[in-house]
Symmetry: C2
Subunit: 487 residues, 2 copies
């Protein structure tokens, strides 16, 4: 029996090919690339037309959980829902095959919790990436509805997009007509095979032949069918999952042995091998936001083929993308070049090589460089902070506290802190004393002194903090109380 | 009668081709490019071997005067001289011909002041740029001594350098043997003609022919000879100068009509036209620090032909120069590219086009962009400050005060200031109260409150300043006392 519809949004990726704009701790899917919503939020909103919103699960990793929950909370308010949207948290990112398996298991647990010993149906699951732009929500819903029909008949269905150019960074689907499939859904096609990231020449041939589609990464399948295919082609994933304990109420990060999961995508694990694949065309604008070259391709360019963004002064460059988020970029005579600037890092890259950006990120990771992890701006449950300057024995931050938020009650062994309110007002706990600090006022927090910074007011609070001490380290923190459970 | 020896250091240039490292208000000649001294200081030290140091005049413009004086003061202490070195200040930069004419006039005035109505000799003048690196000080002195011999015989003498490569950014001197000149100085040659900045092919021919030298821009001449040639070929300069009033004691900026001076180099004004030119070879390493390509050429490169400086992670680039002063630069697959990053601006440029950098600077100037003027770091007589962050109604600075220095006694109509000492200690005047502020302590200065920040101690002082107010402008300052005469 096939029945209730669920959706999984895969939101645990690190987006390393969009360095330095995207970071492991603030990846592209959590950023606004186009419009008012982040890519992740847009993926959620798109699904609400097809699936009951309480059946949409967001799968991410523990490091991104807070940000994902914050973005979901914004949507929940928009849709006026009372119950929180579900987040499934992986202890670490393990690519899409383990993420999807975990999502399916979680759906089953939700059903167990809701229905107890009553008979359960076999849920249909829509799995979507969280990093693409889709131009037409109705076309998306139509394609999903067609795919669901096929999934009910035990097909694993991919949504395919007509290719517009020979992009070597995408996956290609070779299709053929098939009567059985056509009987279920008019436009659907049988999939002959998958090719992930071909070389440039092959990509051009595929586009010219008109028999290939881009793989959108959107899949629809019956839970039991996918689990059977996983068991067949990647049994390790199913075995590890079987042993794990998962609570359906409070997703914890205590999944047994999750770190042993193979690091493999669903495309390589199942899609390349399975015989059950069908494809439904997604007949609207679809943009992959995978690499800088892809972003260049989808951008509106000037008469010299340049996409210039932010504070840029250019002289004679061609077919280049120059993107500034903070400082002035001056450029002369560049060709086919990508320049991306953020507050703390810079990428200058030949456009052709833009898929190699992830190699740079791996390299930074190997050498233990924190810059690949975070921006100078670091997101916290209560807001964010930006490191302004680090000197010998001191460090300054600009701290932004959301209305209603509170930093934990804490102390530091090695540093004193000095706060000046520059926007809004603060409630400060200093030792045992609790008092308001107005815009323009300041307070000193001594080494070993218990303190907390709070914003119980309606306006955002911004303070400048000067830290001083022999050790200035985020780990020098003893927490006593924390509204975000971090004690 | 030819006699006393003087030197002019031309230190008023803006170094716009080295944007963004060099700025109008902090140009390359005032920067340390190699070794312990700035290029300007190195030019001075080099001359001390040939000329009495009190006869060395530094010619700069009013905007750079403070920095030039500060750098001279450091040298004066090194050479244990009591009298200050002379600075001639142009009201605005007008290229090298007016600067040299002004220098000559100033030398004459110095003689008048020293000798009154006694007979004066016709001074020999060495004019040097302040932006080249010279490898051998003895060879330099030898060449100058030879040039002085020729200058005494009414030649205008250029020092020439054997060209090492076809650099289109330099001037070339075509020479021939001449018996009369050889009789005065063994190695000296007659100059047939000058070619400023030829095209790349011509430059290559010049280098191959071995009859051409690079023009070092170092000239030696008799004051009367140069003035006569200027009168002949660029009479306007001499006319305007004749009308100006110049005091030999306190160089003021009140030279009449200086803004009417033609903006022309001595090369175009005199050297291309005069028949009196001779050349003495400067037989040692000489490096022009004119453009980024020139800096690339003189740098030590790795096996891929790259010059990587600062925090750079590169993947497969070739023959490129990547120079970071603050943030991480990641680069992939660049060829013949220059990337230069400073705290507030960035240049990405095809190496071949690096002479076009000045066009970018002109463009920024046209659109009134202050970034071409200064770095985020601004130099003051008492030290410097760096703007860390600007927000809505607030601004933070890191202020560095030299030992023994004092900021003026002042007040602001529109902002309060909040200071935290992060290095050294301060003497603070707040209202009528004068007190010490230790490392880690802080003080609030109210709107309209008279105050002064001073460092009478031996160690440098660093404070973090938070400014708050509706108007945050460097012009909102009322000065009462100032040790640098800025009241």
């Amino acid at each position: 029996m096939a029945g209730s519809l669920y959706a999984l949004i895969l939101a645990g990726g690190s987006g390393s090919r969009l360095w330095p704009l995207s970071r492991e701790l603030h990846p592209k899917q959590l950023m606004k690339i186009e419009g008012d919503y982040t890519l992740f939020q847009a993926a959620f909103i798109r699904l609400v037309n097809c699936v009951d919103d309480k059946n949409i699960l967001s799968i991410t990793n523990v490091k991104l959980e807070t940000q994902v929950r914050t973005q979901l909370k914004e949507l929940q308010e928009k849709f006026c829902r009372n119950s929180s949207y579900r987040v499934v948290t992986e202890p670490e990112s393990k690519n899409t095959a383990p993420a999807i398996a975990l999502g399916i298991k979680f759906v089953e647990k939700m059903q167990d919790a809701a229905l107890g010993n009553c008979p359960k149906d076999d849920p249909i699951i829509i799995s979507v990436p969280s990093d693409s732009l889709i131009g037409d929500e109705e076309k998306f819903s139509e394609a999903i509805n067609e795919a669901v029909k096929l999934a009910k008949e035990n097909y694993i269905v991919a949504l395919g997009v007509k290719p517009e150019r020979a992009d070597a960074g995408l996956g290609y689907i070779k299709t053929k007509r098939n009567k059985k499939i056509k009987d279920i859904s008019m436009d659907a096609l049988k999939v002959e095979y998958f090719i992930e990231k071909p070389d440039k020449e092959s990509a051009q041939e595929f586009v010219d032949s008109k028999k290939y589609y881009w793989n959108s990464g959107i899949y629809v399948f019956k839970a039991s069918v996918m689990m059977a295919e996983l068991k067949k082609y990647e049994p390790e994933i199913v075995d590890i999952l079987k042993k794990s304990e998962i609570s359906s109420q409070t997703p914890t990060i205590a999944y047994t042995d999750f770190e042993k999961m193979p690091d493999i995508s669903i495309d390589y694990a199942v899609m390349e091998a399975t015989k059950k694949l069908a494809m439904v065309p997604l007949d609207c604008e679809w943009k992959d936001v995978g690499s800088w070259d892809a972003i260049y391709e989808i951008s509106e360019k000037d008469e010299n083929g340049n996409y210039l963004m932010g504070n840029v002064v250019d002289l004679g460059s061609k077919n280049s993308m120059i993107y500034s988020t903070s400082k002035l970029i001056t450029s002369i005579g560049l060709e086919d070049t990508v320049v991306v600037e953020t507050e703390d890092a810079l990428l200058v890259c030949d456009r052709e090589n833009s898929n190699d950006v992830k190699k740079i990120v791996s390299h930074l990771k190997e050498r233990g460089d924190e810059v690949q992890l975070t921006h100078k701006t670091v997101y916290r449950p209560w807001g964010y902070y930006t490191v302004l300057t680090e000197g010998n024995g001191f460090l300054t931050k600009c701290i932004y506290v959301n209305p209603g938020a509170k930093l934990s009650v804490q102390l530091h062994h090695h540093r004193s802190e000095h706060w000046v309110v520059v926007e809004g007002k603060a409630m400060v706990l200093k030792g045992e004393e609790l008092f308001e600090l107005q815009n323009g006022e300041s307070v000193d927090i001594e080494v070993e002194e218990k303190h907390s910074l709070q914003n119980p007011f309606d306006e955002p609070l911004k303070i400048l903090e000067v830290q001083q001490g022999d050790i200035l380290d985020e780990n020098d923190i003893v927490r006593f109380e924390d509204m975000y459970g971090r004690v």
